[in-house]
């Protein structure tokens, strides 16, 4: 089975680690379980989801899902760069990461801001897929303007009482837990007075989950309604009323994930293979595919830089998440459109191998990449105002 080349000067340990991972996947991950975009909330079937859930748990047990976590929580204490290398391979091999909200968004925040009890209670379960997490941020009237959110969580003794509604929540139909951003100070406006709460979706009365059918035909997102739902105060993450910054950090972690660029490399390699198998490849097609490879590799180069910086200094440049988000979201759209163009009317019947994805489904899913995790317009403004210092 092929693997992803990094073009980097890896240490001997890193090279050995990746070899080991690829041998591991050759042995344990059959190609028929290869999935679509790395952390999709859509699944061909319940059986397929269950298989991958179990395989993700196994990956965690065998030490492949959280190499950068401290050893006490099941990690190997390696660097963010090491984790990126591993995740790139997993992405390239189309191993679906079921619990991305838990692993890559909540966990870094818990490691930084969580109490000892919170870490003990959740980190291992996140990795082992015992708690599948979703992220409750958007609301019907609060999309791009997230700070206008209205869901309240009012302190009442040792609970917060939650009322309101969240929407466009991926994974909610499968998740047991939600990271909820809600207004704990009812007098507050904008980004003040918000807090992050961990909500046990299955065992909290007053929580209703309604599936939303997307243009792909599948249930991609849900809307949740909270009616006097009581959340214990010990589920508050970080300081009360100061959840906005934590939520932004959480989104930044989502954005700098290497997974997307590596998956796009796989997509473009699969597309090259499909095109070669069909016909002689003319130069117009070569130029288009070569440009796509270049864009993917540029995005990968950038994520390597960010991971190196993070490993060496513990931080990354303030505009880095927005830059990678913009690059990857454009790639998502352009790559699938190129696939539609090159495979033509066959795009719906073409399937790479016998896997659980095809280019047409990725094409239908692609508009999400321009919007999810903040629209590209929002990220342009973040870079323009916060980094380049231009007026709004």
């Amino acid at each position: 089975m092929r693997s992803l080349t990094t073009g980097l000067a890896l240490t001997a340990q890193q090279a050995e680690m990746l070899d080991e991972l690829n041998r591991y996947l050759d042995e344990h991950f059959p190609p028929e379980h290869e999935g679509p975009s790395g952390s999709t909330p859509e699944w061909d079937s319940d059986e397929e989801y269950e298989w991958n859930r179990r395989f993700n748990a196994r990956l965690a047990r065998d030490g492949w899902l959280t190499v950068h976590w401290p050893e006490e929580y099941g990690g190997r204490g390696l660097t963010p760069m090491d984790n990126m290398l591993v995740r790139e391979q997993l992405s390239y091999r189309r191993v679906p990461i079921c619990n991305a909200n838990g692993l890559d968004m909540l966990a870094p925040i818990l490691l930084q801001l969580g109490t000892k009890e919170q870490k003990d209670a959740h980190l291992r379960k996140i990795a082992l897929m015992e708690e599948h997490w979703c992220q409750g941020f958007s609301e019907p009237e609060a999309g791009s303007d997230l700070t206008s959110l209205r869901t309240t969580a009012i302190r009442d003794g040792d609970h917060y009482v939650v009322n309101g509604s969240k929407i466009w929540t991926g994974h909610a139909m499968r998740a047991e837990w939600m990271i909820l951003l809600a207004r704990t100070d009812p007098e507050s406006r904008g980004s003040r007075g918000l807090s992050l709460l961990m909500v046990d979706l299955r065992n909290t009365p007053g929580v209703e989950i309604h599936p939303i059918r997307s243009m792909t035909g599948a249930v991609t997102f849900c809307q949740e309604f909270f009616t006097d739902a009581r959340v214990p105060v010990e589920n508050l993450v970080g300081p009360e009323h100061e959840g906005w910054r934590a939520s932004q950090r959480l989104l930044e972690h989502e954005r700098v994930r290497a997974a997307n660029s590596a998956l796009y490399r796989r997509d473009v390699d699969d597309l090259v293979e499909a095109v070669v198998a069909r016909d002689v490849v003319d130069r117009a097609t070569q130029a288009a595919l070569g440009h796509m490879i270049e864009r993917v590799e540029c995005a990968r180069a950038l994520t390597y830089d960010i991971a190196t910086e993070l490993s060496e200094t513990g931080r990354f440049a303030p505009h880095a998440p927005s830059v990678t988000k913009i690059l990857n979201s454009r790639l998502g759209g352009d790559l699938t459109r190129l696939a539609v163009d090159l495979l033509g009317l066959d795009v719906c019947s073409y399937r790479a191998d016998d896997a659980n994805w095809d280019f047409y489904q990725e094409f239908l899913f692609s508009p999400v990449s321009r919007l999810g995790g903040g629209s590209t317009e929002i990220h342009h403004d973040i870079i323009g105002t916060r980094y380049l210092g231009l007026e709004r």
């Binding site: 958007s138 999309g143 791009s144 303007d145 206008s148 929407i167 466009w168 939303i212 059918r213 997307s214 243009m215 035909g217 991609t220 997102f221 002689v280 003319d282 130069r283 117009a284 288009a288 759209g333 459109r337 539609v340 163009d341 033509g344 009317l345 066959d346 795009v347 719906c348 019947s349 047409y360 094409f363 239908l364 508009p367 999400v368 321009r370 919007l371 629209s375 317009e377 342009h380």
Partner: protein, 393 residues
């Protein structure tokens, strides 16, 4: 919802009337709910609409010459109808009807003229079996059905509007002679196999077709290559106009929504970056729309004998390519402007997005069209410079 248009597309009262009549009829009969029902697999409302289109406007007779019992409309009228049907996300047989009418009428063959008259009189759904993946529009570069002593044999992977047709007009070859194989599906049961093919566009299902055995009726043609190239060029213009309609609807929808939806205490259309994206979609659309009607007018002039297919073919290709890009941009931008709502099944924009994935490819992708537009210009330049044509595949 405002109707956008630069103006000037309808040059005659008849064209204006046709557009307005279709608009009225579609507003009454075909809502977003109907389109969604169709996407959910319910074909009954679509059949009802088809019946009304046939009964009230006789769309099938639009391009049939008056002396053969039709409306005597031309390519511009077809474009007007296609734009309005496309804007409404309404299914229709316009593509098949228009191509069949042109093929039969322009053949110059008296038997085929009689056949066309019967098609109109009986309201027979007809379709031209041209391979949807072909970009050459050239009878000599596709694989027509081969007719030998043993009968006809041929295979087409994707054909548009063949699935529910009763009469198929198939490019065919008998020895060195090219012509037409007529397949009357209501009469013959054997030798023809039609099966649905997977496709992106629920509004226009594609079918695969196999012909084998002693079947159909052979008609030789005097100028087979010209007749088929013209027919496919007409199909391309109809597809372009349909995409222009679909794109128009996307632009109207997103302009309306951007003027209503508020974020950060302002309508989202007041954000310059979003507003300019909508404008960019509009600008691309205006240009593609103008090109589409210019091509349609060129085709109509050709039908009247005042233009040549050599000049009309590149115009049809440019219209098709430009309209494809315009719909791609308009539908994608529309989804984005709607935010997550645009991504839902409930919102009908995805029908336009999916229609793009199919219509942009039928009879050749935009890149394929552009390659051939350039080759046409190179032939002209080579002719002028006296140089030989040097083009790499």
């Amino acid at each position: 919802m405002p109707h956008i248009a630069l103006g000037g597309e309808d040059r005659t009262d008849e064209q204006r009337d046709l557009r307005m009549e279709l608009r009225r009829l579609l507003t009454r009969l075909w809502s977003d709910d109907h389109a969604r029902e169709l996407a959910d697999g319910d074909r009954t409302t679509g059949a009802k609409l088809a019946a009304v289109l046939e009964h009230d406007i006789a769309l099938g007779a639009l391009l049939v010459p008056e002396e053969l019992g039709g409306h005597g409309g031309g390519c511009v009228e077809a474009a007007v109808a296609a734009e309005e049907l496309g804007a409404a996300s309404a299914p229709s047989r316009l593509l098949g009807d228009a191509m069949s009418a042109h093929l039969l009428a322009t053949s110059g063959d008296a038997e085929l003229h009689r056949r066309l008259r019967r098609v109109v009189e009986d309201g027979v759904p007809a379709a031209v079996v041209w391979p949807a993946q072909d970009a050459t529009w050239d009878l000599h570069q596709i694989h027509p059905v081969e007719i030998t002593g043993a009968g006809a044999s041929g295979r087409f992977r994707y054909v548009a509007e063949a699935l529910d047709a009763a009469l198929l007009l198939v490019p065919a070859r008998r020895g060195a002679e090219f012509g037409l194989l007529l397949l009357d599906l209501s009469r013959e049961g054997s030798g023809v196999e039609l099966h649905p093919a997977k496709g992106a566009d629920v509004l226009r299902p594609l079918g695969g077709l196999t012909v084998a055995g002693p079947t159909g009726e052979w008609v030789g043609l005097a100028e087979p290559q010209r007749v088929f190239t013209e027919t496919v060029a007409l199909g391309a213009i109809v597809l372009a106009a349909e995409m222009i309609g679909a794109a128009r609807s996307c632009i109207e929808r997103m302009a309306t929504y951007a003027g209503q939806r508020e974020q950060f205490g302002r309508t989202i259309g007041s954000f310059q970056a979003l507003r300019h994206q909508i404008v960019d979609a509009l600008v691309a659309w205006e240009a593609a729309r103008a090109m589409t009607y210019r091509a349609a007018a060129g085709f109509a002039a050709m039908t009247r004998g005042t233009a040549r297919i050599d000049d009309v073919e590149p115009m049809a290709r440019m219209a098709k390519a430009a309209a494809s890009d315009a719909l791609g941009e308009a539908s994608e931008t529309c989804i984005h402007v709607y935010g997550a709502i645009g991504f839902t099944w409930e919102n009908p924009v995805h029908l336009a997005f999916k229609r793009w994935a199919a219509s942009a490819q039928i009879f050749g992708s935009p890149t394929e069209q552009r390659v051939r537009v350039c080759q046409h210009a190179i032939i002209n330049a080579g002719g002028r410079a006296g140089g030989a044509l040097r083009v790499a595949g």
